[in-house]
Symmetry: C2
Subunit: 368 residues, 2 copies
């Protein structure tokens, strides 16, 4: 059997989607594709657009950018008509563009709320990158605006659509590792001095909001519980000019209602590959790397139902577009079939609330 990469990836996406929404994916292949306006053509948008190429029910139909040359290049590459290139001023006129069903908001964090709300007001469904926004107030405003406009809002928590993470969740739910006791997670990188992420007005916060959020969110989907309490410490090197506005390091612990405890760590000062360990009464699961675009690896040891000791080592052979494809396909399904996304605005709101608590216990104020 020989498949093109596109066929293979589409198959994978279908198989994955089936796992959590069996009736939807079957329809997906016959649906009219959902047309996306990409708002902000940066690094993450590249991955999203690449992912969309393999989705059976999604397509890029418009671009919103402050760089006309770049937008023109992308338009040509992806077959977007010139009339569907917008800038940040005239974007709202896509209200009248029937090819735009939804938007993908891939701007710096501080712009997520404004562009989500403007898109909703233009009648477009919104898939917004994480972190959802820069504070709890904005998160509420985004949810309200989308409700008001009767459009879907989904936060691009791509790990919810990624097979390694999904397998970890499914192993835990099946009881393979027994009663979960303890989760450890970490994610960080050594940030370049010119990144917008270091500007608090644009980013809202430091590594917690950018990459720590993966660990925070993972502790929630791995446990299937909402934290009952959280506390953190933060630190910044006063002599490192990169950290005049946002924290350099942050560590935290989370308590869940069932008694599961988590300890996590994030940084902008060190290349710290994302991972999580989950320890249960009967075994353990580890993903490392856990949050990358590709090359993920799942390790586990546990007793299966027949009493056989299982020692798992699964490198994820499915490359880069896979989770982005599954994510887009899922949202498009929700749009076409009026379903609530797996990671709706409320999912992002909760993380904003937990991050607020973490920053507060670490003595850091979020932007109002």
């Amino acid at each position: 059997m020989s498949l093109t990469r596109r066929q293979f990836t589409a198959m994978g996406a279908a198989a994955l989607a089936t796992r959590f929404s069996p009736p939807l994916i079957a329809q997906a292949t016959t649906d009219k594709p959902v047309g996306y306006a990409i708002i902000g053509i940066g690094r993450i948008a590249d991955h999203f657009i690449d992912g969309i190429q393999h989705s059976p029910n999604s397509k890029v139909t418009a671009l919103v950018s402050g760089h006309p040359d770049k937008a023109a290049r992308y338009a040509e590459k992806y077959g977007v008509p010139k009339s569907s290139i917008y800038n940040y001023e005239n974007m709202d006129s896509f209200r009248d563009n029937p090819d735009v069903d939804a938007v993908y908001v891939a701007l710096p964090n501080s712009m997520h709320a404004e562009y989500t709300i403007r898109s909703a007001k233009a009648g477009k469904h919104v898939l917004c990158e994480k972190p959802m926004c820069i504070n709890v107030r904005e998160a509420h405003a985004m949810i309200d605006a989308c409700k008001q406009a009767n459009v879907k809002l989904m936060i691009a928590y791509r790990c919810h659509y990624e097979p390694t993470n999904l397998k970890a969740v499914s192993l835990i739910r099946s009881g393979a590792i027994g009663k979960v006791q303890s989760i450890q997670g970490a994610f960080g990188f050594d940030i370049g001095a010119t990144e917008w992420r270091l500007n608090k007005k644009m980013a809202g916060g430091g590594p917690l909001m950018d990459v720590g959020i993966y660990c925070l969110n993972a502790t929630r989907y791995l446990t299937g519980e909402e934290p009952s309490d959280l506390k953190a410490f933060a630190s910044s090197d006063p002599n490192d000019p990169r950290f005049r506005q946002v924290e350099e390091n942050l560590v935290w612990t989370t308590k869940f209602p069932s008694g599961i405890l988590a300890s996590c760590s994030t940084t902008y000062g060190s290349n710290m590959p994302g991972y999580f360990h989950v320890y249960g009464s009967k075994g353990w699961i580890e993903a490392r790397p856990a949050f990358n675009y590709d090359g993920l690896r799942l390790l586990a040891e546990y007793m299966d139902a027949s009493g056989k000791w299982v020692s798992l080592d699964e490198p994820n052979l499915v490359k880069d577009p896979y989770q982005f494809t599954a994510q887009a396909t899922h949202f498009s399904n929700c749009v076409r079939h009026n379903q609530t996304p797996k990671t709706p605005g409320e999912e992002g709101l909760r993380d904003m609330e937990y991050m607020k608590k973490l920053y507060s216990t670490a003595g850091i104020e979020m932007l109002a």
Copy 2:
């Protein structure tokens, strides 16, 4: 070249000891061995006694036990005269036994203070297992009693004498991984229902005092700093009869004065192999397992002084007795040459103070 295991281990111990106390180990080989009374012949004592067999300056000369048959078996095996077998009532009479220079206290935690103080009063130097005792008050009393009696007090923090951990410390101090940002650690096991460790009066606390202490102490020797603040969460399954008295799980974060942050985790509900990760601005170090008696493994990636990228993977080929041998040799050197041990009573006292803070922030009271 062919060496017996004993020669090999003794060489290794000498090489290791040289690293931190060059003048002492040379003398050690000509010293009259320090004679140890082993107080409590349990699992850990077996490792200690095994380790001592390979030490050039240490020897088992007496046994203190509540089980006469077991004591007799050990005495025969290790050439201890019957007259040097004691029980917990008559132990103090070893004051007049010139073959006993020191004691090794390997009893349940709650007995550490009493037997350390009685030994000091009998004029014997004390090597006491971790945790040093069950609260800060006892730690002070032990230190005071040993000062008063002019005997040495060392806490058996064996990782301070273990090559994998020492190499990690030495790599960090050499600047190999740059400025340390973040440390993560964990250690726990699924405890049997009949262990004395589950009895708060005997243990003083749960996994934090028993195995979490390895992570706590590691964050201190890896950073070379003392915590400026710590906070924790604890949890116990109310339906698990094992955890009626001590905590099941505990997670915590530590802030160090330089800004290094640590997040750690311990449990009695899951087999959680001890590890630590250290992330710096220029590389990382990981030990896993980090705290076992043998089979330790050190992984690291960093740039060496010549700008060459180093990818390290060092399984520790030196078996079980090694760290116990080095530990005993070090203490015997201190006894013979009137030196302060690398892990004196004050080292144990600090951990007691930090654990008090952790328990307090987790809402758990230590025994008075």
